[in-house]
């Protein structure tokens, strides 16, 4: 510890320091606004960014996808019903299943019997059916098995046509219907979220800002409304209203705003008692200015996050309603309606179910991950 007699000390420097500007209060780190921090945290979240990209692609496809081929939403043509998916170029990669053939395994006592089953299953168009024997069999019941591959596009003389995702049981192009359906589902979700947001923020904001008697009455009403299960209300509304986009939006928003109202009220109550609002009041700011300049920016994070989680909820409910037959009904399309029709022919034409199912799952996952990302982004604790 003792180093008093060190020799290499520059003794000429043992003089009082010239007074310099105090640098201890200098900001040594680049300052970032809350918004910049939030954006940075969000874009560092890879899952959220990938989700955002996927979502943007899906939204663009729902806008432009339907006009990428010549088929319309309700172009029924039974002669081309139940065509499997066929995509140019990709049709040459057999394992993708986009080569425009139907195939299945058939069992019989003998190979002939199994083959016969396959041929009769596929329109008896023998010349377009390739048979591949899997098991010769020994003559006992269902011991033989063949794989029949039906080149349906050739059989129907439509080799020049490509139904990218196949056609449904009425010969409508599935590609067109899926993107139009996505458009409808997204529209419903956005409208429902937007209306819930406006009503919820207004109601919760007024209750929270004015407090006292106003808040008391408004909260009592809200408490009763929250007590009503939204499932029940939505079902009742759907029974009364004619099926369609507007009805679903109404049904979803009639109780959908209560959650937002409760959150906004709580947050406004918290914020308005903060010192900075008191300070603004003391300085004579009007209520309106305080709301717009102080309260709204400070609760906007929580509003955005909540909205991001309302959207997938709405998408789910639309699909749920359409699935049980209370939502969008064919010939109109929505993801729920497509899944519902797909489910009806799940055994024979699983592709009718699988494509819309994948799409709705992707959308839900993307929204949830973006919501998670935003929640972290607006959480100051996550800003490192």
């Amino acid at each position: 510890m003792e180093m008093n007699n060190k020799n290499n000390i520059p003794k000429e420097l043992l003089v009082p320091m010239k007074q310099r500007e105090d640098t201890s209060e200098e900001i040594s780190r680049p300052s970032r606004t809350f918004g910049q921090n939030a954006r940075r945290t969000f874009f560092k979240n890879k899952l959220a960014v990938v989700s955002l990209i996927i979502l943007v692609i899906i939204i663009l496809m729902s806008a432009f996808g339907p006009s990428m081929n010549q088929y319309g939403l309700d172009d029924q043509d039974l002669s081309r019903a139940k065509m499997p998916a066929r995509v140019p170029v990709l049709e040459n990669i057999s394992w993708l299943g986009l080569d425009g053939t139907l195939s299945d395994n058939f069992k019989g006592n003998t190979v002939e019997q199994a083959t016969l089953k396959g041929v009769s299953r596929y329109d008896n168009a023998e010349e377009f059916i390739d048979i591949e024997v899997i098991d010769e069999g020994d003559g006992s019941r269902n011991s033989a098995e063949v794989k029949a591959t039906y080149r349906i596009y050739e059989a129907k003389e439509m080799t020049d046509q490509y139904f990218w995702l196949g056609t449904d049981t009425l010969g409508r192009d599935q590609w067109t219907r899926i993107w139009l359906g996505t458009r409808v589902s997204l529209q419903i979700a956005f409208y429902a979220a937007l209306i819930s947001l406006i009503i919820g923020v207004a109601y919760g904001g007024i209750a929270g800002f004015y407090g006292g008697k106003v808040d008391d009455v408004m909260m009592r009403i809200l408490e009763v409304l929250i007590g009503i299960p939204n499932l029940v209300i939505i079902l009742l509304m759907m029974l009364v209203l004619n099926p369609g986009i507007t009805s679903i939006v109404i049904a979803l928003t009639i109780t959908g705003w209560t959650g937002m109202a409760r959150i906004v009220r709580g947050e406004v109550m918290k914020q308005k008692n903060q010192e900075y609002v008191l300070a603004a009041r003391t300085l004579g700011r009007s209520n309106w200015k305080i709301i717009m300049k102080h309260l709204l920016p400070n609760i906007s994070g929580i509003i955005i996050i909540n909205t991001m989680f309302t959207i997938p909820d709405a998408i789910f409910f639309e699909a749920f309603l359409s699935f049980i037959g209370l939502g969008i009904t064919p010939p109109e399309a929505s993801l729920g309606a497509l899944i519902s029709t797909g489910f009806k022919s799940i055994m024979l034409y699983p592709y009718l179910l699988i494509f819309p199912a994948i799409l709705i799952s992707l959308i839900m996952i993307a929204f949830n991950l973006i919501g998670d990302g935003l929640r972290d982004a607006f959480d100051p604790k996550m800003h490192k």
Partner: protein, 309 residues
């Protein structure tokens, strides 16, 4: 505490009354009557049918009678099955729905808690990411999509389980799995977040400073404290079983209340629709009430302060 329960029950009754009134008048607005199905009736016969359903009375009288019936547990008579009281239909169909819902909620929550715990312990490790992915998929993918998938793979293609219908335990396996995914994923996410937060709190540091071993800290101090708030999520999860039951029962052709409801919708069987709606509403408010009370019982902080007031 008694006052608190009283207040809650009072709110519950108001809510149920609002729902009953709302559904009654909404149904009155709809076209359709028990006569639609039976067209070739003489005027006399029609009058008898209308009389049986009490539809000859003016609407306000019908309303009062309806409420009176409700109090006694009488939900009216089905339009479709014309001699069956709705209450009886619902009671008949309660069994499968209750079994399914209970199984799914129980297994789902237990598995979810397990996943959440594993994820929290291996914080940011491989198991954490795996169970986070499972949780995101489980909360995002609609359960009917999932149910259809299970049906194709495990029933149609692999033939491990029956495709549909009800009866043996095997019949319940796939629908239970489909129904439990959501509570499982939700519980897993919730427990993970809670656990990570609890493990960062100062009383865990106190426990560490005592020299307690890490497993003991995780289970005795961390786990218990993160499980208590889980009860608040179980309520909404139980309610989500109701929504789930409608589609799942439809997909697996299970003779439960959800399937009954969907069928009634297509048959314009209004008394049954109203009855089911009210049953759902009743279950909903009761579940939420029970969960709230349970929470008070389990958390010592709430238990004591509740006891004082």
């Amino acid at each position: 505490m008694v006052r608190y329960i009283g207040r809650r029950v009072f709110y519950m009754l108001i809510t149920l009354f609002v729902i009953a009134t709302l559904s009654f008048f909404l149904m009155k607005m709809l076209p359709g009557s028990p006569l639609n199905a039976e067209d070739k009736l003489s005027e006399e016969q029609k009058a008898i049918v209308l009389e049986k359903y009490g539809l000859n009375d003016p609407v306000p009288i019908q309303y009062v009678k309806y409420l009176g019936g409700l109090v006694q547990g009488d939900l009216g008579i089905s339009f479709k099955f014309s001699n069956y009281p709705v209450t009886e239909i619902l009671l008949d169909r309660m069994g499968p729905s209750a079994q399914l819902g209970f199984q799914a909620l129980l297994v789902g929550t237990i598995l979810g808690v397990l996943f959440g715990l594993i994820a929290a312990i291996s914080h940011n490790g491989f198991l954490d990411y795996t169970s986070t992915i499972i949780a995101v998929l489980g909360t995002s993918i609609p359960n009917f999509v999932f149910a259809a998938l299970l049906q194709i793979v495990f029933a149609v293609n692999l033939g491990w389980f029956p495709v549909a219908l009800w009866g043996e335990f095997e019949h319940t396996v796939l629908p239970t799995i489909a129904l439990m995914i959501f509570p499982m994923a939700t519980a897993a996410r919730f427990v993970r977040t809670e656990m990570v937060e609890v493990m960062g709190s100062s009383y865990i540091t106190t426990a560490r400073a005592k020299g307690i071993s890490e497993p003991a800290i995780v289970f005795k101090h961390g786990f218990r404290n993160s499980l208590i708030p889980l009860i608040t999520v179980i309520g909404p999860l139980a309610v989500s079983m109701l929504t789930g039951s409608m589609v799942i029962e439809q997909i697996f052709a299970i003779p439960g209340i959800g399937e009954q409801f969907v069928n009634s919708v297509f048959a314009n069987d209004y008394p049954t629709i109203m009855g089911t709606t009210l049953l759902f509403a009743f279950l909903f408010v009761v579940i939420i009430l029970i969960i709230d009370l349970l929470y008070g019982l389990i958390d010592p902080r709430i238990r004591i302060s509740g006891g004082k007031s």
